[in-house]
């Protein structure tokens, strides 16, 4: 209602008690392509859809390693993400140098939240236009956090951000109760299936899907395209099989092929 009157500066509240500039910054996050994260007791996974502006350009990287036990997936202004990434890398490396141990994910995220908040209350600064999904493994536990331009940070069992993320979130909400006990392979498959929900008309290929994992005895690793392709293949295979389960099991292969064509 009062948007245009009260949205010109970060330091102006609206009569409803809202800071529109922060909400606009969160819009920037919602404009980015989908990034989602989910975790089990032993592993945490992020899956992203990497856009490319046209056929000639490369796909925009969305997953970055922070330290051996922690990484992020971003959605929103990539340049802002780079600044926050540098900050996180610095914090974790400094902690490792001084204390000889991995910096707990929650602590880094808190520092990040403080840093983000500062930009919402300082003259001449603007909020960071990027949302991060931080995954990490420390203290024998997996972690998944979401940070936003407002400075809020929450821990999640599973979360999706970016454009069309609601479809992915719905899928995650339906299935998250079974995540804790899953192995790594099944967890990643859930992530890719959730991504498929938000991919819309875009076909998922090994070039535009990014997957990273971290967990017990698993250092943060961004999966190579061939490994990503093997997960995508499994999704296509199971999609065919779900239809057949209710039909004749003997004609699996033939059915799968014909059904694959129908599903798209």
């Amino acid at each position: 209602m009062f948007r245009t009157q009260y949205d010109s500066d970060i330091s102006i509240y609206s009569p409803e008690g809202r800071l529109y500039q922060i909400e606009y910054a969160m819009q920037a996050v919602a404009q980015g392509s989908t990034a989602l994260g989910l975790k089990s007791k032993t592993h945490a996974v992020v899956v992203t859809l990497m856009r490319s502006s046209d056929e000639l350009s490369s796909h925009q990287r969305k997953i970055f390693k922070v330290d051996g036990h922690m990484g992020i997936a971003i959605s929103g202004l990539t340049a802002d993400a780079r600044v926050l990434l540098k900050f996180m890398r610095n914090e974790t490396l400094h902690h490792k140098f001084v204390y000889g141990s991995d910096l707990p994910t929650g602590e880094v995220v808190s520092s990040l939240a403080m840093k983000s908040q500062r930009n919402t209350q300082r003259w001449g600064r603007r909020p960071y236009g990027v949302g991060l999904l931080v995954i990490g493994y420390d203290g024998d536990k997996t972690h998944l956090y979401q940070t936003s331009p407002s400075g809020n940070c929450f821990s999640y069992y599973a979360q999706a951000i970016g454009s069309r993320s609601q479809s992915a979130r719905t899928y995650l909400e339906k299935n998250f109760k079974e995540f804790p006990e899953l192995g790594l392979e099944e967890l990643v498959l859930h992530g890719v299936k959730a991504l498929k929900e938000s991919s819309g008309k875009e076909t998922l290929t090994k070039l535009n899907v990014g997957i990273a994992v971290v967990g017990k005895e698993q250092k943060f690793e961004i999966l190579k395209p061939n490994k990503v392709q093997s997960y995508l293949d499994q999704i296509l295979q199971t999609e065919g099989e779900i239809e057949i389960e209710n039909e004749n099991e003997n004609e699996k292969d033939e059915e799968a092929e014909t059904l694959e064509l129908k599903l798209d």
Partner: protein, 227 residues
């Protein structure tokens, strides 16, 4: 007050440096490098600990061993480890062995006027896949060599390497007929440091030996004399 290694002073002034003893060596072949160090940490005529590592793996293709003062070795290794990570994050790939060698030299010279009491050897595979060894003094003088030894046992080890790797003062074999194989180098390194352990009181307990080649680093540990 502890006596210093081999030194007898009438009026001894406090020094920030002590020598914790120990020996390090490395040998480079055509496509591999072998690097080893003992793990004894001494002070005067006592043993402080039988296991204190002098070895650091920096990348899959490059490692460093250092002898001298354990506190400075520890700190130098910490700094080096952090710098290697920063490099990898910035450039998206691990440091090459030549880059590590140069970095170590610069880190040491940075402390030109209060040096790290460390005598380092960096070994690994260079960009062409050829084995390399770099030896330093305390302030970072850098030289690429085929083999090197440092530490309390270096005067016992270096002549052995001169004779067995560079074939110096040998009348029984010609350079053209000699090929330094990986197995030969590993055995030589093991024998050399074991022999140093026999006569040098500051060398002993355990040896950490690692072999670096195109496939990565293979680390091993074996026992020396405990006396």
């Amino acid at each position: 007050m502890e006596t210093y290694l081999g030194e007898k002073q009438q009026a001894s002034q406090w020094s920030p440096y002590i020598n914790n003893g120990g020996s390090c060596l490395a040998v480079a072949g055509d496509d591999f490098a072998v690097i080893a160090s003992d793990t004894r940490m001494s002070l005067g005529y006592s043993i402080k600990t039988r296991y204190s590592t002098k070895y650091l793996k920096i990348t899959e293709k490059c490692s460093i061993v250092s002898s001298g003062m354990q506190a400075d070795i520890f700190t130098l290794h910490k700094v080096l480890k952090s710098r290697a990570q920063i490099y990898e994050q910035k450039h998206g790939k691990p440091m090459s062995t030549d880059a590590v060698a140069k970095l170590v030299s610069r880190l040491l010279y940075y402390r030109r006027f209060f040096p790290y009491y460390t005598f380092n050897i960096v070994a690994g595979i260079d960009d062409e896949g050829v084995g390399c060894v770099f030896s330093y003094d305390a302030i970072g003088t850098l030289e690429r060599v085929k083999y090197s030894a440092s530490g309390s046992g270096s005067s016992l080890i270096e002549p052995v390497l001169d004779n067995q790797v560079a074939l110096k003062n040998r009348n029984d074999i010609k350079k053209e007929d000699f090929k330094l194989t990986k197995e030969y180098a590993i055995d030589l390194v093991k024998d050399a440091i074991t022999s140093a352990g026999e006569r040098d009181i500051y060398t002993g307990d355990f040896v950490e030996i690692s072999v670096i080649d195109i496939n990565g680093t293979h680390e091993e540990k074996f026992e020396l004399r405990f006396d």
